[in-house]
Symmetry: C2
Subunit: 312 residues, 2 copies
């Protein structure tokens, strides 16, 4: 008995195919493609990979995508000046400041920068006004990962209305918006976190279980009701031999990959969960590809609203 | 075995006593009292009572409170003009537009009016930017009823951290902010609603149960885990003999009150719940008094921020 695979790559490709004619139509109408400005500060290796992937996807989808780089030594004011320029740019409909920012910018830097992005261009959905509109179930630019999870569930025909959905993790960018999106689709929603008592039992009451905490293999069989749909939002690169072996022991294909590369990208969900879950999103190939395609979708939505509203 | 009473009147008086010297200090410092502008459109009887009660409480607390009345026939533009005037008034730190607005103003009127209130004066906590800041667990003006419930629980020594809190109702002004406030105090939170399956069983898993749906006597014994803290946010005036009798049968004191007045103010929670709950907020005298005192607290907070920020 193996869980059905919630194939994020396939769903992302489906959405990409739907976006293509819409991007073409926008470009013909506006005389320019939808534009995305990505700001990258410093030289975090993971951020480099994410940003390159976003730029490539945007380009392939027919969007204009510009990268603005700042050195790790840049001041917060310099970064805010770049955001301000992108806010005022007619060519840019979406702005994304890659997280994390260098520690040297101070603990408040991310919040100040996200607040500074024009809400109409806030394709990450991090501005409080977009978050508030999400709570009120109004049109809003919504964080890409949770809205990608909704697409994955809906297009995989997982019934949300009436289901009990349990979200593990209460971050501003995944857990909380995830809970709200599920609630607005008529799920009964429980949010769990590090202070939750008897987490396995709470998780095992879920028809839909979403884990977004970034703890490799944390969600094991006792967390999962037989037949439940499990969405794995955690993505962690692990190098530690023992941790890898606990999830993918010697003899498995993933172990071989680890042996070759010295590291392995894994999720919050232990592979043994496939034995009890009804459906399961893999890592990689689950939520990841959807996060990127939702960024493109948000950029097109922002562009369409801006042009309709007299911008651009 | 009777549940401990979560005494909203007593807690509200305690908060009122704490506010008094703060209001006096503000008034001495700013050369004027904190100011609240209340806008009332039309002649809804219940609204008249609420507004009168708010004005009286504000006056007694040493606040300036002004009532702006508009006839039921007023246009949305006329109402927006009043809001705009209060937004620009130096003497007013808080603005409250009493809900509901007349139907004739159209279905979008409330949303447009609440959006038009300066977020810094939004003492109802309805503006999306305040809602978004609440989600992000930042300083914000938060809706009065759910923040009053938190005060009631905390000051009655009900432990929130680690508890399983179940909120029945998912409105923008109670259910959703209530869930977020409990989550930020480290409860595991479940939000239920009309589409929830087996609601009694879900409710009965709660250590803290908050009902905010406005259905008289809906929450009965099977909804309540023995020893749970139950907060009744529903306030409904009922005239129907049978509905009253189901909650307060002939022979009870409340039945006599009903006989005298022809109507009775009741909550979502059936009185039989007192036999199993560990603590229970009454209606009236539970959450109601706290809602008003939180409005005063929000007005003082808005005034303090405005003056500190160079306003007023």
């Amino acid at each position: 008995m193996a869980a059905r695979v919630l194939d994020g790559t396939a769903v992302a490709n489906q959405i990409r195919a739907e976006l293509a004619p819409q991007v073409a139509a926008f470009t013909a109408r506006a005389g320019r493609p939808p534009g995305l400005g990505i700001v990258l500060v410093g030289d975090n290796a993971a951020s480099e990979i994410y940003v390159r992937s976003k730029l490539k996807s945007a380009g392939e989808a027919g969007l204009r995508a510009d990268l603005e780089r700042l050195p790790a030594s840049a001041s917060l004011d310099a970064l805010l000046a770049v955001v301000d320029r992108l806010n005022r740019s007619d060519a840019h409909d979406g702005i994304l400041v890659q997280s994390p920012l260098p520690d040297a910018m101070g603990p408040e830097a991310e919040r100040r920068v996200f607040d500074a992005v024009d809400p109409a261009k806030d394709v990450d959905g991090f501005h409080p006004i977009n978050v508030g509109r999400l709570v009120q179930n109004r049109d809003a630019l919504v964080a890409c990962t949770p809205s990608g999870v909704i697409e994955l569930l809906e297009r995989s025909h997982v019934t949300i209305a009436g289901a009990h959905a349990v979200v593990i993790g209460r971050s501003d960018i995944v857990g909380k918006p995830m809970a709200l999106l599920l609630l607005h689709r008529n799920a009964t929603v429980t949010i769990c976190h590090s202070r939750t008592k008897d987490l396995p039992a709470v998780a095992a009451s879920a028809d839909i279980l979403v884990s977004a905490i970034g703890r490799p293999g944390f969600v094991t069989k006792p967390f999962v009701k037989p037949g439940a749909a499990v969405v794995d939002v955690g993505i962690t690169s692990i190098a530690d031999r023992e941790t890898v072996a606990r999830m993918y022991p010697p003899g498995t294909k993933r172990w071989e990959t680890y042996q070759k590369r010295g590291a392995l990208t894994v999720g919050d969900v232990h592979p043994e969960v496939a034995e009890v879950a009804g459906a399961l999103s893999p890592v990689p190939g689950g939520v990841g590809p959807l996060t990127i395609v939702m960024l493109l979708k948000n950029t097109l939505a922002a562009a369409t609203l801006r042009v309709a509203g007299g911008g651009g």
